[in-house]
Subunit: 114 residues, 2 copies
DNA sequence: AGACTGTATTCATGGTTTTGAATGTGAGGA
DNA sequence: TCCTCACATTCAAAACCATGAATACAGTCT
């Protein structure tokens, strides 16, 4: 696979508004699926589908913690691309949610501004 | 159109190996279609098709000069994204071709390293 | 005008993506 | 064990993308 093909695959995974929103959230640090579900106001299955695309493209890693699954960006390239295209993390379009906002895990999970 | 949708459209246009090659060539400055045709070893119609995608996404501008058409990147964002993902212009994968390499316009056009 | 040259467009077809709906899975608690 | 919760996967239909082949178009030259 050439460098161009690899980069094209990365861009392809990012070429979707909802996946960009997800990645924008993950720029600030780990997040569980229920966090994204609340933040984006989308059905859980849909979020999970988009996360699968990002996972298969190697852009995110996941880690299981009890019932929840936390996602994070797997390298710095994606973050750098977002910084280039959307501006620094501080200027992110996504609301900063401290503590997981979803009804069930709000007291346990911590999503801090990196 | 939200910021995410706009960025997704840009990434979508870049999510193709040949279009990335084209943009990589254009990072160094203007280039005519026959230049790209020679540099990439692809049929002219195919190059033109990919250029149309880039044009419609607003990533490149074109300018006619006699029989030839010269293309250039239309803003700095695309260039910055390539720099982030592929490294500085000097490290480009594309061979530096000084003077248009195609058989017909080799003596007139100039494609200099920016 | 007619021919040629560089570039653009159209068309057809096969492949891939998108998305809602439904269902599966595995960990934890009663 | 059985239930629930958080998440993942499968399926199917519509929309969209990729690409070869053929053709159109607009300058330039004679």
């Amino acid at each position: 696979m050439t460098a161009y093909e690899e980069l094209a695959a990365r861009f392809k995974a990012l070429a979707h508004p909802v996946r960009l929103q997800i990645v924008d959230i993950l720029r600030r640090g780990d997040a569980c699926v229920c966090h994204m579900e609340t933040a984006l106001g989308r059905r859980q299955a849909y979020i999970s589908q988009q996360l699968m695309v990002l996972r298969e493209a190697g852009l995110v890693d996941s880690r299981k913690e009890g019932l929840q699954v936390f996602y994070r960006l797997s390298d710095h390239v994606t973050e750098d691309l977002l910084n280039t295209a959307l501006g620094a993390v501080g200027e992110s379009q996504q609301p900063v949610l401290t503590g997981c906002p979803c009804p069930h895990c709000s007291t346990s999970a911590v999503t801090s501004v990196s």
